[in-house]
Symmetry: C2
Subunit: 353 residues, 2 copies
């Protein structure tokens, strides 16, 4: 029996053991959240009580504030305009640390490789990991390689785990957004998701979009340097897009969020591709931008330091946090109406990262 | 062109880009070492200079000695007598930390799941992760789940990454074995590898062996408590078995190692299965024992504390470190002869962990 959730108005169906895992369970959207809540967290039990639900965890080890984050990358194709699985694996983990207000200290790298995978491609992926790590200023200190038989994996899967050290003045948490806070976005959205999608041969059309994959820890350090604890929350809107990032913050903080449609920066080519495919740009994955929720008085100073860096040159004020419609994100449309910005339910773009 | 390596007498063939990755590159044996040396380390470049070759890395973060280790688990079948992929993923990473003289502080957990994987199996694997982590006293603090399409993975792959804190008196390193040191082994070998192998349906015979998978950090803490820096090196002989573990230590330390055949504890059922299949028990993977190299005067005290714990109840003295035949491991056979104990070259048992 399932019941209607009074906050979201949705009707979650509990996962039962006769069911199968679906692609949507890896989407970063609502099905992912349900899998975590209904299957993974209960099964982990006490061992997972600390907060396996977060993208990254803060640990106090002998008085040092460490942050730990892990991500598996299964993007297809492996190489696409603007990046590849190696760069993505470094940036994704560096950015998960950064969203907790941390700078990366070290990375661990684990490969699962399909038998028959070209050594040349392995070299290329690894060189990309090395170049991205060097550019981010973080060493790869340990690794692991497993090989499985033909057909038991698709080329290569890369898991990167990062340790970071939290910046002294960082106090970010998805649960810390408050009414009257300002929602900032560091730059245009949708490029990564649409690039990977169009790079898949089967799609049959081409655009000149390139992935926005890049590390964001220096941008975050500048923001924290400018405003410290006045930055209340940060998220990089990867799988599930800006919509999921804002919904997660709204739910965790018990607040509403309102976004102005005219403020959402969607590049023309992304907008065109989304329209053709019937996708909402707010659901498309990004790998090089962030959403920040700041105290009202910090918004302009933070925007100024963001715009002073290449990663944040096109930063915008997206909207505000409100006390109404707690847990929900609304869009103030160009026509003066309002619509709900939902989390993605299923899987829009499988294997986007 | 390839040249004969004067230390090992082998003739390594450099990997070229036209080649394909083979199962043996994930064996933990010689091909794995070559892949790391010829492809991965050069491609990583400066970012990997710190030591991606180790199973775990020691990091000094603000004066705290941390250890980081990562491993992907691809074992097939997922469930086998004595354990499953979930328990293995926890124990494997906890033990890699322990082999650096560290106790685990936190684990990160990443899944790559094939679409259609039964939710019941996912629950079972995750409950096993949770139970193993709880038993080891280490929380799972963060995680990630990706789902790939049918046929793009085989059920589930699990990557666990651990942070540990190094015990104050631990000074272990694979490069620290010295002539006259004693080689200790914590218990019988071969059970894990032969269990997984016989659990595969295709093999057509059954034995009553169960995997030895278990955490070893408490055993290590007891050993370090007893002898501190007099424990020079430790390894858990997983992929590649005891032979690879000893060869790695001999090579890294520039010493020879001699092992007494009569001292090698091979359970009768493991020995029988190995004979049937033509396998050397020294090459078979273990998940619950360790090899330790200690100063001569520390050997008996360390053996005593090992035997006082369940994980080390059957600990034995296996042999000695010598100054002759540097880089090589020799077995003093039951018949009074000597034979070289090589690293495994190819892949004996794919997907053993």
């Amino acid at each position: 029996m399932s019941t209607v959730d009074p906050t979201t108005g949705t009707c979650p169906v509990p996962l039962v053991d006769t069911e199968k895992v679906m692609l949507g369970h890896g989407s970063g959207g609502q099905l992912s959240a349900e899998l975590l809540r209904d299957v993974l967290a209960p099964a982990l039990g006490a061992a997972g009580a600390v907060g396996v639900a977060e993208d990254a965890a803060v640990l106090d080890v002998d008085g040092v504030d460490l942050v730990l984050s892990t991500d598996s990358f299964v993007v297809s194709p492996l190489f696409f305009p603007g990046g590849d699985i190696g760069a993505l694996a470094v940036h994704g983990t560096v950015n998960d640390l950064a969203m907790m207000g941390a700078v990366p200290v070290a990375l661990a790298l684990a490969y699962v490789i399909e038998e028959g995978f070209p050594v040349a491609d392995l070299r290329r992926v690894t060189a990309s990991v090395g170049a991205a790590a060097a550019a981010a200023g973080v060493p790869v200190v340990t690794g692991d390689t497993k090989v499985v038989g033909r057909g038991a994996a698709d080329g290569i899967f890369v898991t990167t785990t990062g340790i970071g050290r939290r910046l002294a003045r960082a106090r970010v948490s998805a649960a810390a957004a408050r009414p009257a806070d300002v929602v900032l976005l560091s730059g245009p959205i949708g490029a990564h998701g649409m690039t990977v999608l169009t790079a898949r041969e089967s799609l049959g059309f081409e655009t000149e979009i390139a992935s926005d994959t890049r590390p964001l820890h220096r941008l975050v350090a500048a923001m924290v340097g400018a405003a410290g604890p006045a930055i209340h929350a940060m998220r990089d809107p990867t799988r599930g897009g800006v919509a999921s990032a804002l919904n997660e913050i709204a739910a965790a903080s018990g607040v509403g969020i309102e976004v102005d449609e005219h403020a959402v920066p969607v590049p023309a080519r992304v907008a065109a591709a989304c329209e053709l495919l019937g996708l909402d740009p707010l659901h498309v994955a990004n790998e090089g931008c962030l959403v920040a929720i700041t105290a009202p008085e910090a918004a302009e100073p933070v925007l100024a330091v963001m715009r002073a860096r290449p990663e944040g040159r096109q930063a915008v004020r997206l909207g505000e946090v409100v006390s109404e419609h707690a847990g929900r994100v609304l869009m103030r449309t160009l026509l003066g109406g309002r619509r709900v910005v939902d989390m993605m339910v299923g899987e829009q773009l499988p294997r986007i990262c």
